[in-house]
């Protein structure tokens, strides 16, 4: 039997790019989430920063592919004036 579509999607290697506002940059969205927590009955959270996660699927992970994704992250997915990013291979 051929693999089902979800199996094939799972088989694709995935590279994750996480983008976060730089520590010194104000994060109004994170502040809004933080402000809502006590109203929802959650206590003990002292800070929330909100970022973005990108999942990029590629046929295979090679040094060239990772270098390309690094470039994508640096020039497009993140604005390095206000954001930091990390690139990692999703092992799952």
């Amino acid at each position: 039997m051929p693999p089902s579509v979800p199996d094939r999607i799972r088989a694709m290697p995935r590279v994750v790019v996480d983008v976060m506002p730089k520590p010194e940059i104000l994060d109004p969205q994170g502040k809004a989430v933080l402000g809502a927590l006590p109203r929802l009955g959650f206590s003990g959270i002292s800070e929330v920063r909100q970022g973005k996660r990108f999942e990029l699927e590629v046929p295979e992970v090679t040094d060239e592919v990772l270098a390309e994704i690094e470039k994508i992250a640096d020039t497009f997915l993140a604005n390095t004036v206000i954001e930091n990013y990390t690139v990692r291979v999703d092992q799952k």
């Binding site: 940059i25 109004p28 497009f76 604005n79 004036v81």
Partner: protein, 222 residues
């Protein structure tokens, strides 16, 4: 003078900008985000709105549109380029201007008649204003907080590249009350307030914005 007004998917203020260009005594030329040439215009306006739905970041996707490749090249050769609101965000994403614009500090959309001081009248777009002129121009934005590192802010201040500064209260958390800046050459100007909405007595806060469209100069006398 022929002034191009770019329409991206999601642009809102292109029609007002084109109208302001005509009221200012110039010819407005419609440019489309997919255009690969600037149709012989002498200057370009990137108007306000929510180009590409503000997806990813405001201006981040517009910056890579075909017309922007032309605008960036022309700006490098000295063509006057004015980015208003979303256009300012696009200019920052394009690295034609330093810094970035983030969500308003108070997290609310702001819409008001805003007092400004024009601090630099040596740019391609501000030559009709007296230096230090105080004007009222409509401001409307959700992500208008100008940020840059301290060194960049010092350079902007030191080189007189802050074009306009907010008066009577900071509406969005912009560092050093910055409402607009220019590049080193003075041909590229980014402005968060909307001068194209302040060109007729019939509507809005008056006609203080008209000067941006009436006195565009091709060469900066800096």
């Amino acid at each position: 003078m022929k002034i191009g007004v770019v329409t991206f998917p999601g642009t809102l203020d292109d029609v007002d900008a084109a109208r302001a260009v005509r009221i200012g005594g110039n010819e407005a030329v419609a440019l489309w985000h997919g255009d690969h040439d600037l149709k012989g215009v002498d200057a370009v306006i990137l108007p306000g709105g929510f180009s590409y739905g503000d997806y990813l970041r405001c201006g981040a996707i517009s910056r890579f549109s075909p017309v922007m490749a032309e605008v960036i090249e022309a700006a490098g050769k000295g063509m006057p380029v004015l980015g208003i609101c979303n256009g300012f965000q696009i200019l920052c994403e394009s690295h034609l201007l330093p810094g970035a614009l983030i969500r308003n500090e108070h997290r609310k959309f702001v819409c008001r008649d805003q007092r400004l001081r024009i601090e630099n009248n040596r740019t391609s777009w501000t030559s009709t204003y007296a230096e230090g002129a105080e004007v009222t121009i409509v401001l409307k934005n959700g992500e208008g907080g100008f940020v840059a590192d301290g060194e960049t802010l010092d350079r902007l201040d030191g080189e007189g590249r802050v074009v306009a500064r907010y008066l009577d209260g900071n509406p969005n958390g912009s560092l050093r009350d910055i409402a607009g800046i220019t590049n080193e050459r003075g041909n590229v100007v980014g402005l968060m307030p909307h001068p194209e909405h302040a060109v007729e007595d019939l509507t809005g806060s008056g006609t203080d914005g008209l000067g941006f469209f009436a006195g565009v100069v091709e060469r900066v006398f800096a």
